[in-house]
């Protein structure tokens, strides 16, 4: 299967470990990935706050570029989008162009001015969706060499992966990640805040909004802290995520949380693709595990035994 790849700004910066592990694992699974040439930022939630239709136009440029670049004969072009926020904006843009009788044509006309056209061939998909539905869990199971039994993992879905659009999983109680973890041999924990928001756009700094002023960054930090603390109470040794922003937000601000809430939390946050790679016996460096702020416990022992 061939996919065009829309990385998003975050994957190229702070989401490096997610990007590199995803590329390695997808290569191993036999999926071809080709980056969209000269893609631009989708506008993210900050763009929607500023001007909605302009943001859609910006995102539509990526969809049109993908259509131009795709060489295959198929009627459907699948875009792989690892970031939940980008995924949601691209899907929203596609909906707007398809359904809005006034602004859809307006965006198309604007695209024509720069020599591009959009003909609704695009399907935007999350890596988890592709792993579950295109590649299939059986194919993953065949490649697993070292089941990861040492750590109990809490699966964190975050917001925009299953909300507001969800074509492949339940909106209120998604289970896709747990199914994948079962295949990898990872014990999972049942917990309450798996689809609660981590407040990434409020802790701000990197993604979407940014409530960075002193009295207010507590809002975002409190939301992340709740997520981590709940996972800890339920006995998780690590949290796995499928979004570069969730990863950054839950992981990198832990020192600030320790100071603000006077609580010594150290929770490793790993990406699903990193765990898949580990179970497949791929070397750590190719998975970006050396970039983690809090190292994954117990696993290095397994790899030394091999």
């Amino acid at each position: 299967m061939q996919y065009l790849y829309y990385p998003g700004c975050s994957a190229k910066g702070t989401g490096y470990s997610y990007e590199i592990s995803m590329q390695t694992v997808f290569k191993r699974l036999g999926a071809e990935i080709e980056e969209i040439h000269d893609w631009n930022c989708c506008g993210s939630t900050a763009g929607l706050c500023f001007d909605k239709y302009k943001t859609y136009a910006l995102a539509a440029r990526n969809l049109a570029l993908a259509e131009r670049q795709f060489k295959g004969a198929s009627d459907e072009i699948h875009i792989l989008c690892p970031c939940n926020a980008c995924l949601q904006i691209l899907v929203k843009t596609d909906h707007c162009i398809r359904e809005d009788p006034v602004n859809g044509p307006r965006i198309k006309r604007a695209l024509e001015k720069i020599g591009l056209s959009y003909t609704h061939k695009i399907v935007i998909r999350h890596p988890l969706d592709i792993i579950l539905n295109d590649i299939g869990l059986d194919a993953v199971r065949e490649l697993v060499t070292t089941p990861l039994k040492e750590n109990r993992i809490a699966c964190y879905y975050g917001c925009q992966m299953v909300r507001p659009f969800s074509s492949y999983d339940d909106q209120h109680n998604p289970t896709g990640m747990e199914d994948l973890m079962d295949v990898l041999g990872v014990p999972t924990v049942s917990w309450a805040l798996r689809t609660s928001c981590c407040g990434s756009s409020l802790t701000g700094t990197l993604c979407c909004g940014g409530t960075v002023a002193a009295p207010m960054d507590e809002v975002g930090l409190r939301m992340s802290y709740n997520v981590i603390k709940d996972a800890q109470y339920r006995g998780a040794d690590a949290i796995t995520v499928a979004c570069p922003l969730c990863q950054l937000n839950l992981e990198c601000y832990q020192d600030r949380m320790r100071r603000l809430f006077h609580d010594d939390i150290r929770m490793p946050i790993v990406c699903i693709t990193q765990l898949m790679g580990l179970a497949m016996g791929i070397p750590e460096k190719e998975l970006g595990l050396n970039k983690l702020f809090v190292p994954l416990p117990n696993h290095s022992a397994i790899h030394q035994e091999e």
């Binding site: 702070t14 000269d38 940014g210 939301m223």
Partner: protein, 201 residues
Amino acid sequence: MNVVQEQIQDLDHLPVKYEKDADPAFVDEISSLAGVTNLQTCIQCGTCSGTCPSTNYMDIPPHRIINLIRAGFREDVLTSFTPWLCASCYSCAVECPQTISITDVMYAIKQKSLQEKQYPRWFPSPVMVQEFFNAITSRGRIHEGTLILNTFVKTNPILLFKNIKFGFTLWRKGLLEILPPSIQKKDDLKTLLKAMDSPRE
């Protein structure tokens, strides 16, 4: 003084709203903005405020914002910092029994208050949003370092010094590029946005 009397005294401090201050056209103004549907069908059940992860930090909870829009109290809505605390997590939109996309209502309020320059001045999010959009139009991609730098300089420079260590850690891990990335066809973006500015044909 019993509890009831105390509560009545509390109510005395609440500002009284008069119908003459309301702007009946406001609800149509907001409804005409992108993505806002079914606003008039709200049954005030409060599910949105219940599911929202940041309600307790807001000055006006989401269901009351909707009622204020319908009642036409323009200034209360546009100067509130509730929309700026919305993390766009879409819990409310998914749970709403009347399928109102409350997240889109929040976007509409933000857009309106930016246009009319009514946003709360001491809040950094509005500055960040504008910096973010400027960054896209000038370079086509977001560079996390520059975005933060600009926002901090314009809102709270002291925080910049507090975060230098964090930035350095990111850089040492190889997670922060020094030079801002940019796309090749930057002019295309400008043409694209200009075409969106022109009136509908």
